[in-house]
Structure formats: C-alpha cells, structure tokens
Symmetry: C2
Subunit: 373 residues, 2 copies
C-alpha cells in the first residue's frame, strides 16, 4: 500500500472510526484501525465486535493498493498533530508502516491484517432513509433515561420501534421512562413496512449520535435492518451494530392511565424552581415535595443537614389535591427536554407513576416514579 491524502481529511476519517475501537481488548487487532486502499479509495474500519464503524474517502491518490492495521490511539494522535499538508502512508516489508508529512517521518509497528474481523454488513432486508438530525434529536430526548448499568442489558440502551411511518424511541431505567415519537418525513419508507422493534446498546446510540453531529443539516441517513443487525450510513460513514438480544420491558403497560390530577405551567419556571428548591435536598437521597391544593402549587424540600426551602406558584388545576415527592434530578432531566413553553404534569396518586409531557405537542412523554414520603 502506498498513498497520499490530505492531513485534515485523514484526521477526520480516523476520528470518525476510532471510537469503535475497544480501548483494552485482549486481542491487539481490535485496538487498531484497519486501512484498506483500493478501487473504493481509502477505507478505514474499526470495531470492538459489537459496534463497527467504517468510513472512507475517494479524495486520495493511491500509488498501489494494500491493507494495514495500526494502533488507533497512536495513529489518531500522530495525524492530528501533523502539519496541514499531504500525508504519505506506505507499508514496508518489515511489517512497519511509514508515515511522512513534510519533514516528519514516523515508522510504526503494525498488527497482522488477518487478525482483524471480517466486515459483515446487514442484508438489505428492510431499508429506508431517515433524517439524521431527527434521529439525533430523538436520541437526545430519551438517552438520559437509560440505565447506565451494563449488567442490566435490557435497560442499558434505547428501544427503537418503527410502525408504519412512525418512529418511536424509548429508554427506561426502572425508576423513569422517556418516550418520543415522530413521523418519518422522507417519502421513501414503503407503506407496507412491517413493524420493527429493536434494542440498541447505549454505547452504540451514543456513537451514532456523535457521527450524526459530524454530518450536515441536509444529509440523509440510510438505514438497513435484517432482523439482527442494524446498519446506518451517513455520507461515507457506516455504523453497524447488533440488536441487543434482551427483552425490553413492555412500555405500553407502564404508560399510566386514569389521571386524578392535572396541572399545566410554564416549563422554564418549573425547571428553575425545582433547581433552586432542590439545593437544600440531602445529597445522595435528594427529595423534592409537591403539594397541590386548590390553585396553589407548593414546591418544597427539607433536610436534616441543611434546613428547608419552599416556593409557591398559582396554577390551574384539574382534579384532586395531591401531595407527592420526587428525585429532583429526574424532573430536571426530563423538563430540559420539553420543547414547549408549557408543560403538563398528570398524577394518579402519591405512589403511582406521574406523567410529564409538553402541553401542546404529543411527541414526548416522560414517566417518573415518585418517592414514598
């Protein structure tokens, strides 16, 4: 392999794929980026065997084709620091790769190319286009609710459902659940698309979000799913991930019904109040209390370490009075994702799940379990 590519282009390609590398793999090949030069230009691959990221560029001069495996952290750091000039990459007989840029010369050890796993994209069984910005915004609305405990495989991710032209994302950690749904705006999705539901790991969706971030507003993302693997292609970057073979809870059963109390109030006012009043809550067991009586909504907190805090606001209430307590962080994380001037809180009782949703939109819903007072 011998090729020439611009430093900025190469640095961008490496940064796209390097996040798929497993940082401490017992298999040295998995801590590498694979470079393949051929008719398709320069293709870079990285994987930890759960997540695969491939990115490529045709903007490269290939003198002769070939492949090489280079330590990902090392090559990323080197290329980032090279002058903004042409970078020449050349494999040598002694299993080394030579990188030259202006007066800088690097000779790096490489791993056996054969040790790198084989690239297996999903079969194009179901495929459709999706707005990457739409997907990123939806992920941002639910990801925070996923469990960060990797042992709880079925909650450590985002469940994605596609039903007709609707895409729905759900995350839950046992104490709360966030759900968002949108129409898939592109007309390319076939009307007869069968129901699809699959769970992706939190790690995979974080990387998908990051790759979308590097894209442009008007880009289209192509999605391929074969019942086991999901592939997403954006520009010339391809992310492949396995569906998690664990059962996501039946979220429809969790959605509360038969509310007894409903209040609607300005989203930001509520957010700021909870933030302020919650400062007094005892660290480690934060609790904030809501008392809704007649048209007064009181938010308060008490801790044996610090003292107490309270604040009142006038509200329009539907239904019964209620006293209920929550973890303030859960409320703040949900409220910061409500894209509506006003927010509706719907209560069943002090021990039942409470629903938080935008007052005028129906695209987002957050369910939180109260804390027993």
């Amino acid at each position: 392999m011998k090729l020439k590519i611009e430093q900025l282009n190469l640095s961008h390609l490496i940064s796209l794929v390097a996040k798929a590398v497993s940082p401490r793999s017992p298999k040295p090949a998995l801590s590498c980026v694979k470079f393949s030069a051929g008719e398709e230009g320069l293709i870079l691959d990285a994987t930890d065997q759960e997540l695969w990221i491939r990115s490529s560029s045709k903007d490269v001069e290939i003198e002769y084709p070939g492949e090489v495996l280079v330590d990902a952290r090392l090559i990323e750091e080197i290329v980032k620091n090279l002058p903004k000039s042409d970078v020449q990459i050349e494999t040598e007989e002694n299993k080394r790769v030579k990188i030259t840029c202006e007066k800088s010369k690097f000779e790096l050890f490489t791993q056996e190319v054969e040790e790198f796993p084989e690239f297996k994209p999903p079969n194009p069984q179901f495929e459709f286009d999706l707005s990457p910005i739409l997907l990123r915004d939806m992920l941002e609305k639910v990801m925070f609710s996923a469990s960060t405990d990797e042992i709880m495989k079925n909650l450590n991710g985002v469940y994605i459902e596609i039903e007709g032209k609707t895409i729905r994302l759900i995350s839950a950690d046992g104490f709360r659940m966030a759900l968002t749904e949108k129409e898939i705006a592109t007309p390319d999705i076939p009307e007869q698309t069968p129901y699809m539901g699959f769970l992706l790991s939190l790690r995979s969706v974080r990387e998908i979000s990051r790759i979308i971030e590097a894209g442009e507003e008007e880009d289209k993302m192509h999605v391929i799913y074969d019942g086991k693997k999901i592939g997403l292609e954006l520009n010339r970057t391809f992310v492949i991930t396995q569906r998690i073979e664990a059962e996501f809870p039946d979220y429809k059963k969790v959605l509360p019904e038969g509310f007894k109390t409903k209040i609607t109030l300005p989203t930001n006012t509520l957010y700021q109040s909870i933030k302020r009043i919650g400062v007094v809550a005892k660290p480690g067991s934060e609790t904030i209390r809501f008392d809704i009586a007649d048209n007064i909504f009181q938010i308060s907190s008490t801790s044996s370490d610090y003292g107490n805090s309270k604040e009142e606001m006038s509200i329009e209430k539907e239904g019964d009075d209620i006293a209920i307590a929550f973890n303030p962080r859960f409320l703040l994380e949900a409220l910061s994702r409500v894209d509506d001037e006003n927010v509706t809180l719907s209560f069943i009782g002090p021990l039942s799940p409470t629903q938080i949703n935008p007052a005028t939109l129906s695209d987002y819903e957050f369910i939180v379990m109260p804390i027993r007072m």
Copy 2:
C-alpha cells in the same frame, strides 16, 4: 442581622470567598462563609486557616447589623440559582437564617459565630501597589513548574522575591525550574524597599490568580507584608496567606553557566515538532531526543511499543555538537510560555541542565534536567 442585596452582587461575593473554605474540615465553622453586616456594608469571610479570603460590598441595605455562619457550598448553590432580584437575609432566634427572594424561601441551619477564627490582617510593615495583571501573567509563567506534591512543602509553591523595583517569581520541582522577572511599573514602591523573599503555597497562588481573573485590566492591587503574612487587596477583595516556613532552594546556584552549545529557532515550530514527534514516546517514560550536528537539528523518539519518529530542521548553531534527551512534556509546558517568536536553547552537556529562554527578551527563563540516554 437583616439586609437586602442584589442576587448578582451576592452571588459574585460568595464565589470570590468560597474557594478559601476547607472542603472537609473537622471543624464545621471552617466549612462556612461568615456574613457580617455593619457600617462597612456586608463583609464575607472564608478561611481554611492557611488562606483567608474576605470580600465586601457597600451596595446593600442593612436594616439591622449582625453576623451569621452558613455552609459555604449550600449558600453558594442556593444564591446562584435564585432569580435575578433582591435577596433578603435575616437571622432568626432559633439559630437559623432566612433567605427570601421573590417567592422562594429558605431556612438554613447555621453554626456558632464564635467558632469562626479571628480576622488578623498582616501589619502594614512593607506595602506597595502592583499591577494584578502583571502578577497573574507572571504566576502563569511559573506555576506549572511547581511540585504538586504537598509533602514537599518547599517546592509545592511559588517563591516571590522583591529586590528594589524588580519582582521575581520562581517555581521548581527538582527536575525543572521556571523563573520570570519584571519591573514593578507603579511608582509607589519606595526606592529603599528592603529585599523581600517569601514562599507562597501553590494553593494560595492559584486562588490569587483566580481572584485577579475576576478583576479588571486597570485595577491596582495593594500588597502588605509583615515578614510572616502576605495580604493582597484588589477592589474590595482581600486575600491573606502565610508565607511557607520551608527553605526554597537557592535558585541562583541552579542557574547554569558556561554553555557549550546554543541554538535559536522559531518557538512555535519547535513546539509543534516536539508535540508531533513525542506522540511515539512510550507513555509513562516519555523521552524525546535532540541531535544537533553542524546546522541540522534532529528531533526523534523511539519506543519499543509503537515504533519511531523523527524530524529535521536547519538551524544556526553556536558551539559544539550535542545529543541530549528530555521529557517532551517539560519542554512543551515551558515553550508555551515563551512570549517571543524565537526561542534560545543553551546546552552545557547531555547530563547538565539546559536553559530555554526567549531569544530577545530577558524576562523568562526555564531550566530543565535532561534524561540520561
């Protein structure tokens, strides 16, 4: 005590003093900020008994005077989150303090005011004015070279020397030393100022830097020193710290003399080269090698894990050829503080201290010990 003050003003005051609080003191009073309302307005004090920060504002309506001790972390967080409106603070009979801002009410526990140490400013034995910006820039130029090991009391700080109209700051950690000196620009320093030299802890100088950051370009800082304590006053903020009673090494003995080799080259070019070439250096025992022969300067690095790297540049050399190795981080940290287009490197030999200084200015000097090859 009962008073009214603007939220922004109070929040700023608290953030200035709160850094002097000791985060996990066995004495609860030392985790508090002391509020004192009286003829001087509102005075806030915080200390960990090594460092004392006092700040005050006259922009306050005092209904009746008094004092109270409130947990620093708590009051800082509460006030930061209050609406931008007037804040009322009132002490209550039950040893609580009531904080009210619009519809928010906080009742916080307090500590006994008597438990707080007594404020003892230094005697105005020696005093002069100093440009805070000058002091901050000088601190920034040397602080990185101080030892971060709190056990090594004599190196875990910055040594400050005042000799006539010259102020000199020095930090060293046993492997390197940074020195900077300037003329004190203000005419207020008496010609007959005796020699002063004192060591301040790294923690104290970091807080001094931070407080200067909050000030304005044209501010003047008043310095008082009584041989034991140093007080610095900037606007209405007063920092008092003890000199460290440990002997700082005689830096004049460390300054190398009788150079055998001198090269001068563009500061940024050298910085970028070292950064690039150093990527290949083995993490944990980073080494970068300089080979200076005739008019060629080669920078290289080799590691048994990654491979090797090298780069050459043409230079004008005075004196002998030399081969010498360094920790690249030490060089980068020094070079990033050279405010000159060109930098001069002066060598004695491969085992002797090397000097790095701006090519045309004489205000900064960095000494680094080489690594045995």
